[in-house]
């Protein structure tokens, strides 16, 4: 019914996890097992097959007859799942670089192939509740589940009766540790599987929200005035007075940011790796305690009293997007792990599912009998809805309209918040007087990636992972709606640059000419002067001739030589 060991290979930006549920279900039926003994010859033929499709056709055909058929074929669907998109085309003309890119492309293909092949290692399958035709899954109570599962799983159903008012509960990233914080100052952290207590203190102040930081040795508590940080022994290590009167907090593990919103609508992002506040501004939404993070792009979603959900990033002081979800005040929001769906609920007792990746919707519109107080998606996209004292879990309610809940748990005390435990089929509920842990079969991711988040982490591994995570820290500026923005070229500024370059090219580089007087050179002017003088002289001569009335000298008639006249030199008369 349930598998406690779970593995997953999950990232913020991982697209391959799409349709995982579908895929894993098909796994059971369609996986073919090939017992292949790898021989050097086999390897060689395979190499040829991969690298040179034309040149080495013959050996492959030869091998067809033989016992071994080479590597197992990869399911094209799985291959498609790991695809990174279209490769570099034939746009690069430089032969050397084109060749290099082709080789690189081959490596990418190899990586894709390897990833598809490695899926065979995801051995674990998520569990589920199976009932007869005439009975319902909602009829199965925790008691029945506990009776049917193994003892270690049954131990995960427990209840803590605590006295200090409504509790908030949060699991650490690897799902191993639990943090409880009560409204009346009770703060406790413990390994909930072994029930080993790390610390338990009363901060003697109201606690509004709590959060694990990047490792389980550090927790943050938003207390009455300021934000405090404690280590795993309960020692106060920081008091951040710049973040005051905080209502809700979210920790963004890949950016090392602690995002918080306070009573006055101020939002702040604290970089816990360097202790710097990277974003601090007022969202102008007023007091709101409805907040969640979108794990896909690390934006913060805040729902306000007007039914609007707005998405925020630390560097932009206006909402990146706004969605009018309900006509009434919002009571809860949640975004699923892949950043595909967002579930919102309002006072109007409706619950809507939105396509948050494309910012579209609503995909589903549900009407409930009472307004939900809290919503939560599990790793496998089960939606838990908290209705006063009842938790209902819906399976597969996003892409299609669900008819009835998958599981229902009634507990007789008001719910404050709840969280699905990562890599476990467990839902932890913080209630008015304590904490309840219930089993929800099939809610958690069965396969975990030990390099990513390891529930069985040793101290050394933790330290190593911490350093690695710090090295891989993503700058806060990269929080945008599209996390792939960084892989794109900034086209507008590129265009600007090119235009500027074009302008530069158009510039006239001819140097300034030395000034000519009256637009004439010296030589030209001298010529003009001479010409004028000559004309004047001629005029005068003519006048004089007129006055004298002298007969004009007839040009002496030249002796004619007949045909040979042409050879007589004829000096050109100048005009």
């Amino acid at each position: 019914m349930k598998n406690p060991k779970k593995k997953e290979n999950k990232r913020y930006f991982d697209t391959k996890t799409e349709d995982k549920g579908q895929k894993t279900t098909t796994d059971n039926k369609e996986v073919e097992v090939f017992n292949i003994k790898i021989t050097p010859e086999l390897l060689r033929t395979h190499k040829y097959k991969k690298n040179d499709k034309k040149g080495f056709k013959k050996p492959i055909q030869k091998k067809d007859n033989s016992k071994f058929k080479g590597k197992a074929p990869i399911d094209p669907q799985k291959l498609e799942l790991h695809s990174r998109g279209e490769g570099v085309g034939k746009g690069v003309r430089h032969p050397l670089h084109a060749e290099k890119l082709k080789k690189k492309e081959r490596k990418f293909n190899y990586a894709q192939e390897q990833a598809a092949r490695a899926e065979i290692l995801l051995t674990e399958d998520h569990g589920a509740l199976e009932v007869d035709e005439d009975s319902k899954t909602t009829a199965i109570s925790q008691k029945i589940i506990a009776e049917n599962v193994d003892i270690s799983a049954a131990a995960k159903i427990f209840e803590l009766d605590l006295d200090f008012g409504p509790y908030r509960a949060k699991y650490s990233k690897n799902g191993r540790h639990l943090l409880l914080g009560s409204n009346k100052g009770h703060l406790a952290a413990f390994d909930w599987v072994t029930k080993k207590l790390h610390f338990e203190i009363n901060v003697m102040e109201s606690i509004h929200d709590i959060s694990w930081l990047h490792v389980e040795t550090m927790v943050a508590a938003a207390q009455k005035e300021w934000l405090y940080m404690y280590d795993n022994t309960g020692t106060e290590i920081h008091c951040i007075k710049r973040m005051d009167k905080i209502l809700r907090m979210e920790f963004l593990p890949y950016h090392f940011l602690l995002a918080a919103v306070n009573e006055f609508g101020f939002m702040s992002w604290l970089d816990i790796s360097v202790g710097e506040i990277v974003g601090h501004y007022n969202n102008r939404l007023g007091r709101t305690a409805v907040m969640t993070q979108n794990p896909y792009n690390a934006t913060i979603c805040i729902g306000n009293s007007k039914g609007v959900v707005s998405l925020w990033s630390p560097t932009v002081k206006d909402p990146l997007a706004k969605i009018l979800c309900h006509k009434t005040p919002l009571t809860a929001i949640t975004v699923d792990n892949r950043g595909m769906y967002m579930a919102t609920s309002g006072v109007d007792r409706s619950m809507k599912i939105w396509d948050i990746r494309n910012l579209d919707g609503p995909l589903q519109d549900y009407r409930l009998r009472s307004a939900p107080v809290h919503l939560e998606f599990s790793q496998k996209d089960m939606l838990a809805v908290g209705l006063d004292d009842v938790v209902e879990i819906y399976n597969d309610c996003c892409s299609k309209t669900t008819e009835k809940p998958y599981l229902r748990h009634r507990m007789g005390k008001a719910i404050n918040n709840f969280k699905f435990c990562p890599y476990e089929d467990v839902l932890g509920i913080g209630t008015r007087n304590g904490f309840t842990s219930i089993l929800v079969p099939g809610s958690g991711e069965p396969n975990f990636d030990a390099l990513e988040s390891n529930p069985f982490q040793t101290k050394k591994q933790r330290k190593e992972a911490e350093i690695k995570a710090l090295l891989d820290k993503i700058p806060a500026e990269l929080i945008t709606l599209n996390p792939f923005d960084i892989t794109e070229v900034d086209v507008p500024s590129m265009q600007d640059q090119m235009e500027a370059k074009k302008k530069l090219l158009k510039m006239d580089y001819t140097p300034r000419q030395k000034k000519k007087r009256n637009g004439k050179t010296f030589v030209a002017r001298r010529k003009i002067i001479k010409e004028v003088a000559r004309k004047e002289f001629i005029e005068q001569a003519k006048e004089a001739q007129k006055l004298l009335n002298l007969p004009e000298a007839q040009p002496a008639k030249k002796p004619s030589f007949g045909v040979l006249d042409r050879f007589v030199s004829n000096p050109k008369t100048k005009k």
Binding site: R11, D14, R84, G85, G87, V88, V92, R93, H94, P95, A98, K100, K104, F108, A111, A115, K306, T315, V316, D318, P319, A321, K322, L324, K327, T328, P329, G346, D348, L359, D360, P362, Q364, R367, L368, R369, S370, L387, D388, D389, K404, L451, E452, D472, P475, E477, L478, T480, L481, D485, I486, V489, V491, P492, S493, M494, Q495, D496, M498, E552
Partner: protein, 775 residues
């Protein structure tokens, strides 16, 4: 006496007999002449044809037999031996040049052998050094195998029984000499061959350089050119890129030609020819040829692509401005055709327009009228020309032009007039020329005559009497001629009018009015000033927008094209499903404590609440205000139309005067169309469009070198390399350094064995080889 007679008789008889007998024998008997007596005179016919050179060899042969004379015979033979005189060695620079050329070829060949090795090294993923991994120590097979084998007991026992013979190691002799005998011989032969080649080349070059014949060189040049052309054609087929590069050399030749004075007819030869050119047609032709050569060489090679547009312009035959083909200076340069196109005005343009119009019109009658119009325009043109000529005459008169030149021009003018009138005569054929035409014609002609007379009067007698007289004489002549011709023309026109009147009456019956209107339109005067009527709105393009037309100019526009985010394409299409309201689904949720907890309902039944409590909370203005917000957001980034109109510009302005609507519209500059917003057609969703400078700092603003499009570049960085994203094996493969060196080893430079490595020999990427070969 008798006896003597007898004797004589007998002798003669005998002779006859002998001759008769000899005649029987047909063969010719040549008797070798013998010298009997020493005489001074030798008959030239009796000389024996034989070289009288003493064959020393024969002599020596005789001497050889005797051992005593061996020395002498040897000496004789030696003297016999011919020795050639060595040719004079080449000049030193020439010889060195040849040496260099052959040396270069050799070295090139030698170095080119490495091309595939280098090219492979460049393209391959990674190169690991040292290149040779095999251990230098040779190991006999037996020894090597003996290490691996563990002998079984049986084998050991067998060995004891029959010990295996120890293989004697073969001593591998170290070669003492750097080269074997064969190699040495080969080397020597090679060198000798080289030397021989060198000397051949030298001899050939020398001989060729000695040739003074111009014709030979010309032929040589032509041959070379032909060869080159042939090669070029072949190249065009095989390798167009290379051919293009070849074309560039043509460009070089052009530049060379441009900067020299060759073929410019500035040389001594040309000057001499020029003197004679006046009278000699052939010489003129020669000069023209020379210029044509220069033009051919300096003609710019235009790209076929770019010239496509220009070609259309060039094709238009320029009849009106056709020049004297014999005149080398006026020969039209092909690259000047643009200039001519620019000066397509007046008559020429008119003719061209007409041609176009002609094409458009279908009816024959229309064509006829067109023709008539053409004639008319020709006439007009002629008369205008006449007046211009006259103008010229005036000017020339003022500027002291001699009588002769004036007289020379006059017949030309007359000729022109004659031609025009002839054309008018031709017009008679076209009876379709109707009244209107005739009228306009008449008017025109009258006007021209008036002008002529006036212009004649205007001239002031300032110039010397002689010139004036001459001018007046010309004037009178002209007037006479023109007057006569005009009279004739008027007569024709009157006749035509009469004819056309009759024709018109018929035409009214026959033709429909519309056609006539068309004709009238052709005859209508063109408006004096053609005002460009711009009712189009000005479009102001900002740099940020993706303007297609703007991009076309940019050579890099290609790179930008694929950038168009495909979201827009999908978004612009309105998805009908988007507007389908999602039907609310009433879920059977648990009833919480507040409500009656035990009021259980059947889960399958859809439950619709009796009272819509949500309506109590609903605020309608929430939706309205949100939509208002969206509208504001949309409008915020919208650029307003800019009115550039200046009130009072070109019309009255002031209080109460409304500017014309047309004018207002004309001067409104509309901003460039923006890309559609992401939240367009999305309902109640606002997506802010912003530019984050902090994010922009991280983004790439330029497409780096080998890439030519954004799409390709983005594709190259699309996949992650880290081991948290992809399998370790692939990760290792992707991050492997391009050069791997083994630590602690001496890395020897490549030796020639690398040339023989099959992977290097198999490298066949021609493009890369070529690229690297160029370097």
């Amino acid at each position: 006496m008798e006896e003597i007679e007898d004797n004589e008789f007998v002798a003669s008889e005998h002779d006859r007999l002998v001759s008769a007998i000899t005649k029987l024998d047909k063969t010719q008997h040549i008797t070798e002449p013998t010298r009997n007596e020493p005489t001074n005179l030798n008959s030239e016919f009796t000389l024996i044809k034989r070289s009288n050179k003493l064959n020393l060899e024969n002599v020596a042969k005789i001497l050889e037999n005797t051992s005593h004379h061996t020395q002498i015979s040897k000496k004789l033979k030696k003297t016999q031996h011919e020795s050639k005189v060595l040719s004079k060695p080449l000049e030193k620079p020439q010889a060195e040049r040849i040496k260099r050329a052959t040396g270069y070829d050799e070295t090139k060949k030698k170095v080119a052998r490495w091309d595939p090795v280098v090219a492979r090294g460049r393209t391959v993923d990674y190169v690991s050094f040292p290149l040779k991994h095999t251990s230098t120590k040779m190991q006999p097979t037996g020894e090597f195998l003996s290490k691996l084998k563990i002998k079984s007991d049986l084998e050991k026992e067998l060995e004891e029984l029959d010990p295996p013979t120890v293989m004697e190691e073969e001593e591998v002799e170290e070669p003492v000499f750097p080269m074997t005998y064969d190699e040495m011989v080969e080397h020597r032969q090679h060198l000798a061959k080289m030397r021989a080649q060198q000397s051949y080349k030298a001899a050939k070059a020398k001989r060729q350089s000695k040739i003074k014949s111009k014709k030979y060189h010309r032929v040589l040049k032509k041959e070379k050119l032909k060869q080159e052309l042939k090669e070029f054609e072949e190249l065009q087929k095989k390798d167009p890129e290379e051919a293009l590069r070849k074309l560039e050399t043509l460009e070089k030749a052009r530049a060379l030609e441009r900067h020299t004075l060759r073929h410019k007819n500035t040389g001594k030869w040309a000057k001499n020819k020029l003197i004679r050119a006046k009278y000699d047609k052939e010489v003129r032709q020669q000069l023209a040829d020379q210029l044509a050569v220069s033009r051919g060489l300096t003609k710019k090679v235009v790209d076929t692509q770019s010239s496509d547009d220009e070609a259309a312009e060039e094709v238009i035959p320029d009849i009106a401005l056709a020049q004297d083909p014999m005149n080398p200076w006026m020969m039209q340069r092909s690259d000047k055709s643009n200039v001519n196109a620019e000066f397509d005005f007046g008559y020429k343009k008119f003719v061209q327009n007409k041609r176009k119009l002609k094409d458009d019109s279908d009816s024959e009658s229309n064509d006829e009228t067109d023709d008539a119009n053409d004639k008319l325009s020709v006439l007009k043109e002629g008369i205008n020309k006449l007046s211009q000529e006259d103008d010229q005459v005036e000017e020339s008169g003022i500027e002291n032009v001699t009588q002769e030149s004036n007289e020379a021009e006059l017949p030309q003018v007359n000729e022109n007039v004659k031609q025009n009138i002839k054309k008018v005569k031709d017009k008679r054929i076209h009876k379709a020329l109707i009244k209107l035409l005739g009228k306009s014609n008449a008017k025109k002609t009258v006007a021209t005559t008036n002008w002529m007379v006036e212009s004649a009067d205007v001239i002031e007698p300032v110039t010397p009497d002689e010139i004036l007289l001459a001018f007046e004489h010309n004037e009178r002549n002209l007037e006479k001629i023109v007057g006569r011709k005009l009279k004739q023309m008027r007569n024709y026109v009157k006749k035509l009018e009469k004819a056309s009147r009759l024709e018109h009456q018929r035409a009214v019956q026959m033709q429909n009015e519309t056609r006539e209107r068309n004709n009238l339109e052709y005859l209508m005067m063109k408006p004096q000033k053609v005002k460009p009527i711009i009712d189009e709105e000005l479009i102001e393009t900002s740099s940020k927008t993706v303007d297609e037309s703007n991009n076309v100019e940019i050579p890099l526009s290609k790179t930008l094209k694929p950038v168009q985010p495909n979201q827009e394409t999908t978004d612009s299409n309105i998805d009908p499903t988007r507007f389908i309201e999602v039907k609310p689904k009433y879920l059977n949720t648990a009833i919480t404590e507040g409500v009656n907890a035990y009021d259980q309902l059947d889960d399958d039944e859809q439950v619709v609440p009796r009272v819509n409590i949500e309506e109590v909370f609903e605020e309608d203005d929430v939706v309205d205000s949100f939509r208002q917000e969206k509208e504001d957001e949309v409008n915020r980034n919208k650029l307003e139309d800019i009115s550039l109109s200046l009130p009072g510009w070109g019309s009255w302005g002031g209080k109460g005067v409304k500017p014309q609507k047309r004018k207002r519209n004309r001067f409104i500059a509309k901003p460039a169309p923006k890309m559609p917003r992401r939240d367009e057609n999305k309902g109640d969703i606002i997506i802010r469009e912003y530019k984050d400078p902090k994010l922009a700092a991280h983004k790439v603003k330029d497409v780096p070198f080998p890439f030519e499009s954004v799409k390709d570049y983005e594709a190259s960085i699309r996949a992650p390399l880290g081991n948290t994203f992809i399998p370790e094996k692939a990760h290792k493969k992707l991050i492997r350094p391009s050069v791997i060196t083994k630590a602690g080893t001496i890395i020897e430079p490549m030796d020639e064995e690398e040339l023989l490595v099959p992977k290097n020999r198999k490298f066949k990427n021609e493009h890369v080889l070529k690229l690297l070969g160029q370097k």
